[in-house]
Amino acid sequence: MRLQFILSEIWIGLRRNLSMATSVALVTMVSVLFLGLGVLSQRQVDTMKDYWYDRVQVSIFLCTAKSDLPNCSAGAVTDAQRKAIRGQLDAMKPLVKSVFPESQQQAYDRLKEQYKDSPSYRDIKPEQMPESFRVQLSDPTKYDVITSSFIGAPGVGDVQDQRRILDPLFNVLRGLSYGALSLAGLMVLCSVLLVATTIRQTAFSRRRETGIMRLVGASAFIIQLPFILETLVATMVGTALALGLLWAMVKYGIGYLADKLPINFITTADVLTVSPWLVAIAAGLAMLTAWFTLRRYLRV
């Protein structure tokens, strides 16, 4: 009886207060959507990092005969220097996962392949290209170890980390995700304030019911429960809408990009992973707000 009674009271309450309940649901939807976008874009950056860091290499460029790099004044790299570098790299396992030596001819072929339509590289000759060791690291963040070991070593023209090229991109993405999270924070604040106002207004409009409940000796819990549950229903409807939107955005938006671009993207599985957290945050905040507001504005 009690459950049925409470459910029917909630239903009556929601119906009577439909516009407020709708506004709570919609504001919750927008805040959870931003929160979800923020969290998912963080995951996207992580996914991309994992993907790219597995592929990025540190390149140790060796001196060519005509190189004008400061460390190459002695001329082209010698066989002995080349062997010494290779030996040193081999000694650095397991940090050094693998080493690919690239000859001048191979470097030239790759350049021609990459820029076959560009006239700027037409006059370049294979002996102008530096030969290099392409080094893959087991931990890409330890790039400094390689740099400090090889920069300035005899025969080494330069050491370059491809991560340096990617990091600005990741930083931009990271910045965007923090932006989404900040907006989410503002929206969450909006929803909390709206929920508080709604409960306050509802408590006022139902003061006769709650007054009678109080007089006949209903416990504080029973008096407050319909308010808390109504708030919970409205916020959960909003959260469900937001999760549906996030799922659709990832499935159809990101899914479309993933088909076109050779990059690892987050999938709907990521949405499912973050969903319980978003639900928990939304439900927790709603109940906490309801509880605080009721303590203040509902006499029990």
Binding site: M1, R2, Q4, F5, I12, R208, E209, G211, I212, M213, R214, L215, V216, G217, A218, S219, A220, I222, I223
Partner: protein, 229 residues
């Protein structure tokens, strides 16, 4: 059943006390009229019994409970022993007669079969059988007050407080309502009724407690309304 021991009550932001030094003993099963001018402290006295307010000094005992030391979480238990009726009925306008009375049991978590048995019984007792499905606005003032009394009595409280229950009713209807309260009193329920209705008080010749300016100035068995004047 109800005992006031030298009770004073001063509301915050008020210089005048609403009650001063009131001592009063109401036995189980008594019917007491509480009279006095507006502002004499009748409502304050009732609010203290319900623990809607706390005393400033003194002590109130209701149904074996000392209210000044009663923790907040125990207040609902106290109120289950007290039924309350008001001048303005305070019915829920969107619930019918049956639902209004059942509401008092539902919020206490009473099982459905109990509600189905007890509500019609109570409605019959207050003379509203056959009107279960009416909405409050479809009833006369007297009938609305009967619904309110049914709601206050449906849980069989030990005490029934009535704060000017006839204030909005014509004399004949008023008398009917007080007779109903008298019938309830005969079931052993203690009744405290605040009123301005001299005819009724004079006619029923019950115990009369008169307040003036927050002080108890008369406590008379089989009293009349205006003995003081």
């Amino acid at each position: 059943m109800i005992r006031f021991e030298n009770v004073s009550k001063t509301y915050p932001r008020s210089s005048q006390p609403a009650l001063r030094g009131v001592s009063l003993d109401i036995e189980r099963g008594e019917f007491v009229f509480l009279v006095g001018q507006s502002g004499s402290g009748k409502s304050t006295l009732m609010r203290l019994i319900l623990r809607e307010e706390r005393v400033t000094s003194g002590n109130v005992l209701v149904a074996g409970r000392e209210l000044s030391t009663l923790p907040n979480r125990k207040v609902p238990e106290l109120r289950r022993e007290i039924g309350t009726v008001f001048q303005d009925f305070r019915l829920l306008p969107n619930k019918n007669v049956f639902q209004n009375v059942a509401f008092a049991l539902q919020v206490l978590g009473k099982p459905r079969h109990t509600i189905k048995a007890v509500v019609p019984e109570t409605l019959e007792m207050v003379g509203l059988d056959g009107k279960e499905n009416r909405l409050p606005h479809e009833l006369s003032g007297g009938e609305q007050q009967r619904v309110a009394i049914a709601r206050a009595f449906v849980n069989k409280p030990a005490i029934l407080l009535a704060d000017e229950p006839t204030g909005n009713l014509d004399p004949t209807t008023s008398l009917d309502i007080v007779r109903l309260l008298d019938r309830i009193n005969r079931t052993g329920t203690t009744i405290v009724m605040a009123t301005h209705d001299d005819e009724i008080v004079d006619q029923l010749r019950k115990r009369v407690v008169e307040l003036n300016n927050g002080e108890l100035i008369r406590d008379q068995h089989r009293g009349v309304y205006g003995a003081q004047r």
